[in-house]
Symmetry: C2
Subunit: 714 residues, 2 copies
């Protein structure tokens, strides 16, 4: 019950090594055979070697979908993912008279399944091969920018060769920060259809209020179906297409999870930073996060003050304000978590021990890496400010986009910076068109004043002379420059922006405008910063592998395996169903029930459970989906599995490899887990598949789908 | 784990009868011998009959103090109560250079113990005798106001006779709503001194944020000492006084509480409504509480709107706004709790069953009681509005006080309405003097506009013609009347109010003022409403005993004892240390530890634990006060004991009658317990005496006090 601040002594008394818990790890499937013993010890009843190959069952049932994860759950291409991952598909199909978001959707047979938005994709991994030598061959012996370019060119060449055969999408994944590279081949399914979605008040019950919270009561799932051409090959939507027959699909368990049960999860986690250096941890905790909290708070204050007496400005900036607040909250939560876990001191102690044990041959590289990271760290505030000047403004962003588009458009399309190629131009045009609804000159000037005032206070070696020249060094000069700029620019006029867009995309000269002139200077500064940044990136790509080698050796001494930081490739995590004890005397059960839906229900968004659900709960007819011990219907459950963004929609499997849950969220205490895994607090939140089965059986019936998945009808 | 809405069937399945749980009951000590079996079954190891007499040990160690409860904890008159019960004493002794509120206070020996404010009292109950016949003798055969007056006159006579002997304070307590009356004789100790108070950030750690919350981490205790004259008799403060030697004192246990342990508590609970009729329950749930929520919200909106662009008004009304919000929150919480417990339907079913089983001889009285309650119910909204017109205004309240004071001052002091006697005049003067800091004419007019607009919409038989004449029947008339009134009244001037106060207290004519004229008419309406109300009160006093007899008979059939609703007399509750499961998947442990202090600490009020406390926690030197199972220092604990306001400071005893805790709060889910005891949610929050002992031993040491209480020094 007691929860003392975690100290090294306490950690050791818990029987854990200093940085890893039994359930920590986003393992590459290829690593699982080496973990066979611990997998079995944890309770897995299957053959660990069967999990090693992403191109064979069961892992080839797990797909990448809409920024998250999904899995096939029938031989006819039925796909399970989160309601929030498929939200765009539901929205795309909603319209006047058919509000599938609020009312949900059940296809009245296969003919009634609705095509997703045309850019919606499902990627099935069909190849995963190590190509380290090929990637690094040209780079060896080089350094800095040359090293960077050699690696990038090799990656581009491998992707081009791989995609040449057609029908697949390829990429090269960087594992362990430049130590290893893998070629990932993925089948790209392009005809995806909406089959079953619960109403918003089930699929997103609790919305932002319950987001990151436990206990949860959300049915965050949707069923889709993948279609292919009659030849079985991926094809764009056509009514003649037929259901895709995946090489494997998952089977839903008829039993549910209970505390202590083994659980595992497969998915495509996006990004983590756990193998970063102690200095990077310290910088994140001491500088990056506090700075983000401070700057976002400053912008929140500016926007709120500007909106105080101006209802119109308040409306235009409502969404931006919400996003600033989310950013601030998230940074504060991450900071709080890292402090609570004492991550800085613990990572530092771990690195010190590693360096003491390191083979001398790595030392020079590691020292050089540390020096490069120091230089990068110094640029942290400038990079944050410059990024915000573009992302938090409307007119200045437009000018920067136009000018950079002009610069890039002078090059062949393939050589242009990503974001400015032919395929990106619709997005740029969209940004230029939506300015009117989100722009107020007084607010934009106030935001820039806050950001540029901070910029003016940067040390000399961090300020670019373009900024000094444009905005001066004093508050008065800044004030005057911004006033003149916004009084004279014509970019507030949509027609003016669009005519300049037409010129810029051809690489042609853009009609003169004061803000475009400013942007031209700022793009010069941007290009110069990018050159520096790529130089550093090349050095780090070259040097980090030595740090990794030292780490591998140190972990080997500790008897521990190392998993690569998340990078959007398929990973597996294993652990168990586990309660959460977040604070003194507060204990959360790992399984929630429908009673909680009734308790939370206020009748207004987001706690407005639909009447059919409330009626069914009151009726209490839970049939075979009721929990035998709890004697009621469960809704969500918690595991200690290792997840991050991108794991949304990941299937959760039991000891026999059967589907028991659908991952959809983490608890608030896990926000900092992208840097540091703390087994006391890290939990993942899942939909209990028995809740899905009950909804399909008794509340919004879809008997044909239950039959297709081989499940009982009640 | 599941928590379905409570239905009658579920209640029965829990093995409880429809309205009582094992731990429900604020028993009169005289009832304990009849409960001996259940007390023993619950785990009490002492002799139940020893608890029957409030004038013998251990109950005569439990005293009434400053609106709450206290207990003697040494033979030298050392008294234990809550920090918040003794707050006025600490405040009275604080001043420039000695901030005992924030820094705490430890007397440097008996000479250094500081006298309380002169009106602070400790009452030791020395007599408790049934006087029903004497009280009702003259009333029998009468009805309405005559019955009321006969009872009141008998009570006044009994009190006067009782106090004639001197040195005691007497009162007549009404049990079971006019069924029984008891004469309570209390020794009045008037020299009370401050001995030991922890700093505010311990005694009130968490303040309003944690109020009503669990888990708690508050050291809400203070030690005082009672002194008497050298002759052993109560006497006002004198440096020659000597410590009082109480006839009994409690002994602190060296063991602490753990889940499931027997616990009991003695104290002076203020008021409950559990024996009210089903119609009164329905009215509370359907009308009184929703109306309070609505009207308080309306006033909150009015005050917030008025303060929106007026920082000065915002400051003047900050405290009133906070109080309105607390009132609204409290009413909403009570309503929520009563709905959650389905109290209306359950009380109605219980009463229906009772009436079906009732002896015919009670039926006429019960019908007449129901009719009288109907009439009272109709006046509910008017009474709320009239009350708020006085309590939520400054100038109108001043005028009403002045005019009523004038009316009452024409009578002999003893016959004046309570609140307007000689002894009340300092309070009235205080109210008249503090107007300036809390008054803004625009806000007061807005408040009155809201209240009087509701008044205008009351049905004809509820509106008093004085109001119609003064404020009209339309928004325009109301607006005009208020504008004129506040433009011309001189009561905004303090000197004007005070000169009229001097006249009013002599019963003399008050210099003319428009608002005083209005008040004169409103006081006429008030007096007429009071006449009606006393007429009804007399009838209910006459009739309720028949309802009680029917209830006693029904409870006897059910095999259950009945305890009287709380009325400020000494009561006993027994139950056990019990965890709380307030919502689906949320489980609170019943004991908190010092780890929670560290977790909650932000360094700013109210989570700003003092450094010596944080250092001592970090040091972890808990000695003999550590919990043997948790291996750390505990702070607070939960029991399922039956408490309400007035139980603050109640001693919590273990099975052997030893002191283990100090009651100081309830959980939020208990707010509705004044009407309905729901064993699922009703908990009381206590300071663990081991926390007190640790603070006195290791953090803010007071070894002499530990020795005086017979406790180990570490």
């Amino acid at each position: 019950m007691t929860r003392k601040p975690l100290t090294a002594a306490l950690v050791l008394s818990m029987g854990l090594s200093a940085t890893a818990a039994a359930n920590e790890g986003m393992w590459m499937p290829t690593q699982l055979p080496e973990l066979a013993k611990t997998l079995k010890a944890a309770g897995f009843e299957g053959d660990p070697s069967a999990l090693a190959d992403v191109t064979t069952p069961p892992l080839n049932a797990v797909v990448r979908i809409g920024g998250g994860t999904g899995s096939f759950v029938s031989g006819d291409g039925l796909l399970l993912t989160n309601h929030h991952v498929a939200y765009g598909v539901i929205q795309y199909n909603s319209g006047k008279g058919h509000d599938y978001i609020n009312e949900g959707f059940i296809a009245g047979g296969r003919d009634d399944e609705r095509p997703a938005n045309p850019d919606y994709r499902v990627l099935v991994t069909v190849g995963f091969d190590k190509v380290t030598d090929e990637v690094l061959r040209e780079a060896r012996g080089k350094s800095g920018r040359a090293y960077y370019d050699a690696v990038e060119n090799a990656r581009k060449r491998i992707v081009a060769d791989c995609e040449a055969e057609g029908g697949v999408r390829c990429s090269v994944a960087n594992m362990y920060y430049g130590s290893d590279f893998y070629r990932v081949r993925q089948l790209e399914l392009t005809d995806i259809r909406l089959v079953y979605a619960p109403p918003r008040a089930i699929g997103n019950y609790g919305d932002e209020i319950d987001n990151f919270m436990w206990p949860r009561h959300t049915g965050d799932f949707t069923l889709l179906r993948a279609y292919v051409g009659k030849d079985g090959k991926p094809a764009p939507y056509s009514k003649d297409n037929v259901p895709y027959h995946p090489p494997a699909h998952l089977t839903m368990s008829l039993d549910g999870p209970k505390e202590g049960d083994y659980a595992m999860l497969a998915g495509y986690p996006g990004i983590t930073y756990r193998l970063r250096t102690a200095a990077e941890f310290a910088n994140q905790i001491d500088a990056v996060l506090p700075r983000r909290v401070e700057v976002f708070q400053q912008l929140i204050d500016v926007v709120e003050a500007a909106g105080k007496d101006d209802a119109d400005a308040r409306t235009r900036y409502a969404s931006q304000l919400q996003s600033l607040k989310n950013n601030r909250k998230r940074a504060a939560g991450e900071l709080e978590g890292l402090l609570r876990s004492d991550a800085k001191a613990r990572r530092a102690a771990d690195e010190r021990a590693m360096l003491a044990a390191t083979d001398a041959k790595y030392k020079a590289d590691i020292d050089a890496l540390f020096a490069s990271l120091d230089a990068e760290r110094a640029a942290g505030e400038r990079e944050l400010l410059v990024g915000l000047m573009s992302s938090q403004t409307q007119l200045l962003r437009s000018a920067l986009l136009l000018e950079r588009l002009r610069v890039e458009s002078a090059k062949p399309d393939a050589e242009r910076e990503s974001g400015y190629q032919q395929r990106d131009q619709a997005l740029i045009e969209g940004v230029l068109r939506q300015v009117q609804r989100r722009y107020d000159p007084a607010v934009e000037k106030a935001i820039l004043t806050a950001l540029l005032t901070r910029y003016q206070q940067l040390p000399d070696d961090q300020r670019d002379s373009h900024y000094d020249n444009l905005f001066g060094r004093t508050p008065e000069q800044l004030h005057k420059a911004l006033d003149e700029l916004y009084a004279t620019t014509k970019l507030g006029d949509e027609a003016q922006r669009l005519s300049r867009f037409e010129a810029a995309r051809k690489g042609a000269f853009i009609d003169n405008d004061p803000l475009v002139s400013v942007a031209a200077a700022l793009v010069m500064a941007q290009l110069s910063a990018e050159r520096e940044s790529k130089e550093r990136a090349g050095e780090q790509l070259r040097l980090r592998p030595s740090y990794m080698q030292a780490l591998f050796a140190w972990r080997a001494q500790q008897g521990r395996a190392v998993y690569p930081d998340a990078n959007g490739t398929l990973r597996i995590s294993y652990g168990k169903v586990e309660a959460l004890h977040p604070r003194d005397a507060v204990n959360y059960s790992p399984v929630t029930t429908v009673a909680g839906i009734v308790e939370k229900n206020t009748g207004t968004v987001p706690f407005d459970a639909p009447k059919p659900l409330l009626d069914a709960i009151a009726k209490g007819d839970f049939g075979s989906t009721a929990d035998p011990a709890l004697k009621t219907q469960t809704v969500n459950f918690l595991t200690n599995l290792d997840t991050t963004g991108g794991n949304s929609g990941s299937p959760v499997l039991n000891a026999r490899g059967e589907l028991i849950g659908l991952n959809f969220d983490s608890n608030w205490e896990s926000v900092s887990a992208s840097w540091w895994f703390d087994p006391r607090y890290k939990r993942a939140v899942h939909v209990d598949m028995r809740y899905l089965r009950w909804l399909l059986a008794k509340v919004y019936p879809a008997p044909a789908l239950l039959a297709e998945m081989g499940l009982p009808r009640e």
